[in-house]
Symmetry: D3
Subunit: 264 residues, 6 copies
């Protein structure tokens, strides 16, 4: 809230609305989608009015239709109007991510592929954006550089090859850390499998190549497909037999879900 309140607070509301006035209002979806972030909305209202009454009409993850009420809030009018925009900014942003995730999850329904996000998140919001992905039915990749090994092409280039890169990692990290390596070709995949890794990131491969890669892996590692995969292209990718499909746009380019506050 500090970002929005600044030094002088909501000077519009404080000038116009009497301190003791109360109102009832509702969050209403303007478009269809999946809701995420209601806890943040509740927390925002509570910070400004600890006594506010909030009635959640759906839970995070629920589908909503245009015009559908999401939550009702009843309390001090000043608090409700001052908190409105920040609460809506959270709900809109996170619901946008949940909605986008659900769309691609639905697209691969019936295959074994799980959808995951990446580290391409909005600065400062990674934890809550990854939460929104889970709300949408997706799974999370690494939360940061410290909770898993992902050897990328640049690492391989500096290390002088896939094999030395993997071997150095194995000598350094603890036993609870998984190791994944990015491969661009079937030759690189063969080399990675020979040294042994927990997962392979099959980068920018088309479905036939992915199918060949999955066959070569043969269960010895988790197979992750990546590279500009959209709602439209996801099903073909999933049908190649990969375990994981990762998509950066879920967190960096999903448009907000339009939700507004109506006085009731």
């Amino acid at each position: 809230m500090t970002e929005d309140l600044g030094r002088a607070g909501d000077i519009t509301t404080d000038s116009i609305i009497p301190e003791e006035a109360t109102i009832s209002a509702a969050f209403v979806a303007r478009v269809p989608g999946r809701i995420a972030g209601l806890d943040f909305a509740v927390e925002t209202f509570r910070q400004l009015d600890p006594e506010v009454e909030i009635d959640l009409l759906c839970q995070d993850g629920a589908p909503v239709d245009p015009g559908q009420s999401i939550l009702k809030v009843k309390g001090r009018a000043r608090a409700v109007l001052t908190a409105e925009r920040v609460a809506l900014n959270f709900v809109g942003h996170l619901s946008g991510i949940a909605t986008a995730t659900r769309a691609i999850v639905d697209a691969v329904a019936g295959t074994k592929a799980r959808i995951t996000c990446t580290r391409k998140t909005t600065p400062g919001l990674r934890a809550i954006e990854k939460y929104a992905v889970r709300v949408g039915g997706g799974f999370n990749h690494r939360f940061g550089l410290d909770d898993g090994i992902l050897i990328k092409d640049n690492h391989v280039a500096v290390a002088g090859g896939i094999t030395p890169a993997i071997e150095r990692v194995k000598a350094a990290v603890g036993h609870m850390v998984k190791i994944e390596v990015e491969v661009d070709t079937v030759e690189q995949l063969r080399e990675a499998l020979a040294v042994g890794v927990d997962a392979v990131l099959l980068d920018n491969m088309d479905p036939p190549t992915l199918k060949q890669a999955v066959a070569m892996i043969d269960g010895r590692a988790i197979a992750e497909a990546s590279g500009r995969i959209t709602v439209e292209s996801a099903r073909a990718v999933a049908q190649s037999g990969v375990d994981i499909i990762s998509a950066g746009w879920l967190t960096h380019s999903a448009p907000t879900l339009d939700v507004g506050l109506d006085i009731v």
Copy 2:
């Protein structure tokens, strides 16, 4: 960076890359757009390697073509690879906003209308998103609830009318604060002008109504048009003679600009 480094830091890079290794790399645009946020990229690299050499090949606001290099970085390989994603997340997000802003600014070129953003920003990033809007040729609306009065429909509803709402504000705020009021109809506009305000937000009016409103205002207040205005619809809105066009999607729904790091 803390968000990405976590408690143990970049365990992939630290395991594979020798501490003394250096590399040269470049940020390269994958698609056309406007660049914004280079200072954040520079700062990110500097935090990890204060000695890093960075060569800016363009400035914030510059147009880029696919394949065009944006900045060159030369320094400790560990620092460059560890900072890469955070630096790119900043540049991608802010360049996305600058690119979207420039598109709508170009759409109204030749009219007197200025493009502004709103308070519909990503939580925590308002100041830098508003900077990206300026980079794209837009202007900023209020930074928060405390640096300007914007009387909205909900305020009017609780206050019992436009006139009492404006009068209460005038009695309360300092002389350096501008007062804007949202109006949905020509009747509301007439009432607002009668009391006197610095600006009016003409909400969801079509171009003919806007033209009528601008005529009624006749220079006595700044005229701002708002309400789902897109790159396609902006020119017609601008030709109604309004001074300001505001658009929330510039900050909440502009997709990231695709930029990558290539070793050179």
Copy 3:
């Protein structure tokens, strides 16, 4: 409280007073004045004893006479005695500002002049000192460098004149920002009005010159008088017809209001 508690807390009180002891005490004014800052006193007591009972005997802004009780506090003796000094420091400082403000507000009663503070505040306390000014019946000028334009003599000197300074500002800032310019002479005032501004700061002018300036402005801008204006000189300044009188000493030199804590 941290500043006062340090690392080891209130070692005097903790050594002497049993943990379960309770007391009743009152804040008592030792001199006449206006009270401000009671919320800070309440918060200070609450931080040390969430169960403390506090009875506000007056509200912020109320006049008090010597010996008059301001608030009663009943709770754990340790908490009350430990919080005493910090709570009194807040109330004394803010009441001192409110008292000073009220004195000058009363001095201009019956004129249209409003009293405002400046940015000459105690480091770190700007927001609450400006609140105390409002409690005393004054209004607030800018809260910081970012919520209004005030072009001062040094800006004009570097810009090479009043006209280019104002024009650069108009080309740069958003439509919700007011523009004020400091002028030292009637000639500068004429130039400023020709370009057009929202307000003019008439610096260090005597009442006859102010009267001449107000006539020249003729309602085209807000007229603010500034420059060592005291309780004694304020009325003559106000009678010149200016809209605003600003005074830095309200926040940087108002002496504390003497208030003490008595056990009851």
Copy 4:
């Protein structure tokens, strides 16, 4: 600086002054006094322009005459003009305290009495206000509730007497902590000396009573006089033979020292 810069920074300066412009300016005293806080001014300028050149023309503690230059600053014009007010607020506030302290220190010159401040400081500024007292030639009392024992009347009241209060303290605190007790009468003083303390605060006693108290103490404890002691009354108090004179107004009510920034 954050308090003054807000979210959008110095929009006046940034709009008017070109990024590459440089200026030279000086802090100039408008009235006589003692300077304190130059390090804070330097730090403020450095935060905005690490390359700024600053020439200190005097040191903290130096006397200044009206019109005397205190420091010269040369650097980016934007940085200098943006930092000006915050730097001046520090120097004005702390110099005001140093000036007030010096006046009372001079008043007791030739006696053995040392001047000290109290815990009646501006919230958040205790450490630097106490520094300004030292700059003015004074000494510091406790920095907080944790670095010395001061048993006050309220403690005595709850404890049921001076003797039990002192005894409880002795049983509880470490060997590096001094114990002082406030006494209002000669009888209380006798009781305190009988139990044994490091210092006694002789509260609101007139000079003859103080003289009697000093004689009774006879070097067995440090004698501190307190209670609305002014520059005018201090000498008579000091001549009673007390070791310490404490005065709260040094930190809570000393007016700012008027210092301005002139372009040179």
Copy 5:
């Protein structure tokens, strides 16, 4: 808790335990000792479940036997299991210090010597480690460099002697600050007493030398013995007649007290 929760929280517990499940559990001592830090455990559980019911079966300072229950906690299973390790880390660390302190306090029982800790504490934990020493029956030495004077050998070396070091200190510090000086020999002690100090730290002296030092001091200063004093050697040191025995290992090397959480 942040340190342990990281970005994604307790993924084990959240995956396995239903949100509504509740459990009862107890902290159980595995070895004998003194308990300290229960408030930190309570606070840790409360942060994760504000409704948790906690029943303290003993207080800080109580002796415990192996198998003895210390506190019972009943609440949301997720909260209890997630908070377990952090709560135990606090209790184990602080109880370890209290247990060690009590052992040496018991060793000197019947003498007048008090046991104190030093500034050799774990970074960031000084205040709570010093609390644990008090819980164990010890007293606290200085909390930091600012709440007492301790002139050490290195200060004496740079100052050019004990006498000038003490004299400089007396000229500089306020009247509420105690002065202690470290001496290694009887000659240094004689010099320190001649100038006059509040306390002397007798460093690394054997009991006969300490006895000689105590006799020379003859009540004119507090006598503190220091230097690798253990539970075994403490009694002989205490019998030399010193007032204080200080021991750094109480805070930097006391092993944790083994306490576990059992579901009941």
Copy 6:
């Protein structure tokens, strides 16, 4: 440093040592061990004197003998003496952990067992304590509750069995997360292996049972032994064929390494 400097800074050093005095000093080991934490010492000195010259005479991980110099520091005497204790507290604590770790690492030399620490760390210091373990030749287990799954006995109890606990985890977590389960008996181990996990924690098993467990696992999971394993007992445990030996005392009970500062 704040913890040690408090509000008034190092009043001893500031009173005695002239501002311009410089000294040379060295950190000297008093006992044999492994050094860790030199970067923290360097940073502490740098914070107080950015110009200080530091000469590292060994690196983190190096063995030291009594009397051996570890680093030389040359700079402002005030800075060196003020920083001394904090710098030593870091080096002593971390070197103590590195020394303890190295002892048990040496004890299992020649076996394939790796030594790891646990989450039983000192509150607030986990990241740097885990670093010290690596310096001593050990490896790290989880950094927190969020970067790996460790299903413990309490989880199994609430879940109603090992199988449902593991299955719930597999349904919930991302593909980069490893899953370990604690087993107390061979029966539990068999059940865990049947469902499939990445690692098993063999809790409190004696070497013969561990040997049997390793045989049953037969390379299908990583085998970790845990439970009060000391330097003395570690070799027998390692010879059972386990991959990992974890020991909590490395971080919670390793005594400090005695290092002092000598002026040279």
